[in-house]
């Protein structure tokens, strides 16, 4: 008599199934976003330190390796945006009478806000 059998869970479980893999990717987008805000923080620090420090840092950011990193980070950020907006309706259930507001509408409002905000930020930064 050996009793109930417990199947082991390998630590690579997230590679065995597409949905789990996408979940893991989604979670790891946060690493890229965090890395980006750290780079941004350094940019601000250098800006504060003076013209030379700032410009040398910009040159550092302009190196191909850093640009590749940012392209990847951008892809990660977009993936995060999409997954985040699509999940928002799960957390926020807005009821109007008997029906809750359909998920696509909540997600749609998110996307609209996203477009407006992105345009606003780009305009402020780039207008000069």
């Amino acid at each position: 008599m050996t009793g109930p059998y417990r199947r082991p869970v390998p630590s690579t479980w997230w590679l065995h199934n597409r949905a789990y893999f996408l979940f893991m990717l989604r979670e790891l987008t946060s690493v890229f976003i965090a890395a980006y805000v750290i780079l941004l923080l350094i940019l601000l620090y250098r800006l504060n330190a003076g013209r030379d420090a700032y410009e040398s840092y910009l040159r550092f950011l302009g190196a191909p390796g850093m640009v590749i990193f940012h392209v990847i980070a951008l892809a990660a950020a977009l993936f995060h945006t999409v997954t985040w907006f699509n999940l928002t309706p799960k957390v926020l259930v807005v009821r109007v009478g008997a029906r809750s507001v359909p998920a696509p509408i909540i997600a749609g409002v998110n996307y609209a806000a996203w477009v407006v905000l992105s345009a606003l930020v780009a305009w402020i930064v780039l207008r000069g």
Binding site: A34, V37, L39, L40, N48, V71, T81, N110
Partner: protein, 115 residues
């Protein structure tokens, strides 16, 4: 009572996730690619950047943009480590992750206050 602090971390995670979802793509595209490749022309010279960042609203904006996504990262990373089998010391994992986010937040405040 570790359990009772979860709502706090979760709310920072959620706020950070929302900030990142709304702003990270445009920010990365701007400072990481457009500015870095020099495509922004005159708009991001030292003087213009300094003027832009010195505005109190900009600094508030940057503080939020840096701090909250760090908490977002901390929360997700903490659970990712657990999911990957870091079973030992859940408290330690949490301490390191949130600690890093807190440190980043303090640094951001220190940098931004000096403009």
């Amino acid at each position: 009572m570790a359990g009772t602090r979860e709502p706090f971390w979760w709310s920072l995670f959620a706020a950070g996730g929302a900030v990142a979802a709304l702003l990270a793509p445009v920010q990365i595209a701007l400072t990481g690619i457009v500015v870095a490749r020099g495509w922004a022309g005159q708009s991001f010279t030292y003087d213009r950047a300094l003027a832009l960042v010195s505005h109190p609203l900009s600094r508030l904006y940057l503080f939020v943009l840096i701090s909250l996504p760090l908490f977002h990262w901390a929360h997700r990373f903490r659970f990712t480590l657990i999911d990957l089998g870091f079973k030992w010391g859940r408290a330690l994992v949490a301490g390191v992750c949130y600690g890093a986010a807190v440190a980043g937040t303090i640094l951001a405040a220190l940098v931004l206050i000096r403009f």
